[in-house]
């Protein structure tokens, strides 16, 4: 019993906190809001994994670049934030297509390991380029959504931002679903993901199709970054943490499932906020994400919604 007491003591659990319904609700809302942002970046990771079979470790960096562009368009050029974010999504897609064309396409698509290493190189280059161009000063990017909360229960507030974040993610998933299932380019993308050789044999141009996937993923990642950054401050290392949480979300969802990415994102967001609040583990927030990845990979490598597939490395 002494051991248990000391463990509880370490985590500083107080019954007061646990029985505080408003606190629960407040953290639930915050968790959903954070989760929505993780879900967006996780969606971007899943898109690349589905089509190419590797994890793009530079996904967070492309999003970082996009968010800085959104900052330039909105704060420095004076565009409305939402418009600036859309412009940044377009711009980061263009960069991603260029990156795919120059750095990724020259490699045979079935050699996953060199490609993963190349994305690590891209991470180094893009992150430092952002540091070179914009420096390490922190900046703040306004949110796309109005401040204030339409619904309040004591300290628990359902803010416009939470609603906006969630709404955005569900809209992205909806549009993505329509794009992939109803359009020709979507069919091409899914065909390439499913069977590269047969995709070639029905006349699909594989390279441009994968370039399209990179562009789409970068746009979604940028949007996710634009959702998360208003809560924090913008500086060059900000997306690394987001990337780790999003990797956990993607792993939990199953790496190749888009629905899984969204649910995984929400679960990770909730788990993080509840753990941090009730166990006072703010320094361990990142570690919980790692624990999620570890447990998922050990217990159920296909995640909650992923399909089994042969490990390609």
């Amino acid at each position: 019993m002494g051991v248990l007491a000391s463990v509880l003591g370490v985590f500083d659990i107080t019954l007061d906190k646990l029985s505080d319904g408003e606190l629960w609700l407040a953290q639930f809302f915050r968790g959903l809001s954070d989760g929505a942002t993780y879900a967006s970046v996780a969606l971007a990771l899943v898109m690349i994994y589905k089509s190419t079979g590797f994890i793009n470790f530079a996904q967070g960096s492309l999003a970082l670049l996009g968010v800085y562009l959104a900052y330039i368009f909105s704060v420095e050029q004076g565009l409305p934030v939402a418009v600036a974010v859309v412009c940044a999504m377009v711009a980061s897609s263009a960069v991603a297509m260029l990156v795919e064309r120059v750095f990724i396409r020259p490699f045979p698509p079935d050699h996953v390991l060199p490609l993963v290493i190349v994305t690590l190189g891209l991470l180094l280059i893009i992150d430092s380029a952002v540091g070179i161009v914009w420096g390490f000063r922190t900046r703040s990017l306004p949110s796309m959504f109005p401040s204030g909360a339409p619904i309040e229960w004591g300290i628990a507030q359902l803010t416009w931002r939470t609603i906006g974040n969630l709404g955005t993610v569900f809209a992205v998933v909806g549009l993505l679903y329509l794009l992939l299932s109803r359009t020709k380019v979507g069919l091409a993308f899914r065909a390439v993901s499913s069977n590269l050789e047969s995709a070639r044999l029905v006349g699909i141009r594989v390279g441009p199709t994968l370039g399209f996937g990179w562009a789409l993923a970068a746009a979604i990642g940028t949007l996710g970054g634009a959702l998360v950054v208003p809560d924090l401050l913008l500086e060059p290392s900000i997306m690394l943490r987001v990337l780790i949480f999003s990797l956990a979300a993607a792993a939990l969802g199953g790496l190749d499932s888009m629905v899984g990415a969204v649910i995984g994102g929400l679960v990770v967001g909730l788990a993080r906020n509840l753990l941090v609040t009730f166990l006072d583990l703010s320094e361990l927030a990142l570690a919980t994400a790692v624990a999620v990845i570890l447990v998922v990979l050990l217990v159920r490598p296909t995640g909650l919604f992923g399909s089994t597939r042969v490990e390609r490395v």
């Binding site: 069919l187 091409a188 065909a191 050789e197 047969s198 070639r200 044999l201 006349g203």
Partner: protein, 237 residues
């Protein structure tokens, strides 16, 4: 005899440093069914892959007089060459319907829908499962789907790599009957790689026997079927 529809000259192909085809010549007239026979590793599959630019090649590949060598797979497909690869010719995560639509990827004419319905009639089992994912079909059903997927291109040249692989003899026979019917009906030129030599020679007009990356024998299918060496080596009687 008119100029052949597909004319291949001095075709070489290699995987990295390993040369598989050492300069083969063959031709198929328009509307004919040609079969390629040969032992494992003789280069049959590579020949088909070479025609679609799926391996690096040298030599000349003329389709209706146009040079295909040097073109990219996507462009060769747009010239009307459909290829059913060995074993995995479908998109397992896509539904049967989507597989057919992917097969018609390069077409934009209004008759795609009618064609899909036609192949659902020809292969009723596909029609019953049009909403299911291809990966959930049996091996035979997947093979039919792969062929239907290729036919959705309205190909002028259909390349088939071991269509009978893993199929029950009954199904194989009916598959070949359907292929001859399609050939008679639409005049589709076909080039078939097949292990089941007696069946293939039965439906083919011309045959080529590959040995170690070179054409060892060639001629009308019925003559080869009667050739003692071929009978001993490939027909087993």
């Amino acid at each position: 005899m008119s100029a052949p529809y597909l004319e291949v000259q001095g075709l070489k192909a290699a995987y990295g440093d390993i040369q598989v085809l050492h300069g083969i010549d063959f031709s198929v007239a328009e509307g004919q069914i040609a079969v390629i026979l040969g032992a494992n590793g003789a280069g049959k599959t590579t020949t088909l892959r070479a025609l679609c630019a799926m391996v690096s090649t040298e030599g000349s590949i003329k389709l209706a007089g146009d040079e295909l060598a040097g073109q990219r797979t996507a462009d060769i497909v747009r010239r009307g060459v459909a290829h059913v690869p060995q074993g995995r010719g479908t998109f397992p995560e896509l539904s049967v319907e989507e597989n057919l639509m992917a097969g018609a990827f390069v077409r934009s004419d209004p008759e795609v829908r009618a064609d899909a319905d036609r192949w659902y009639e020809t292969f009723p089992v596909l029609g019953e499962r049009r909403g299911q994912t291809a990966g959930s079909l049996s091996g035979g059903e997947q093979q039919m789907l792969a062929i239907a997927r290729a036919l959705m291109l309205r190909p002028s040249l259909l390349l088939l790599d071991e269509p009978s692989l893993g199929l029950a003899p009954m199904i194989t026979r009916s598959l070949f009957e359907q292929l001859t019917a399609i050939n008679a009906d639409a005049g589709t030129t076909m080039l078939v790689v097949e292990q089941n030599a007696s069946l293939a020679l039965g439906v083919a007009d011309v045959a080529y026997v590959l040995e170690a990356g070179e054409v060892a024998l060639s001629g009308p299918a019925d003559e080869l079927a009667a050739d003692d060496n071929v009978r001993r080596a490939y027909l087993g009687y």
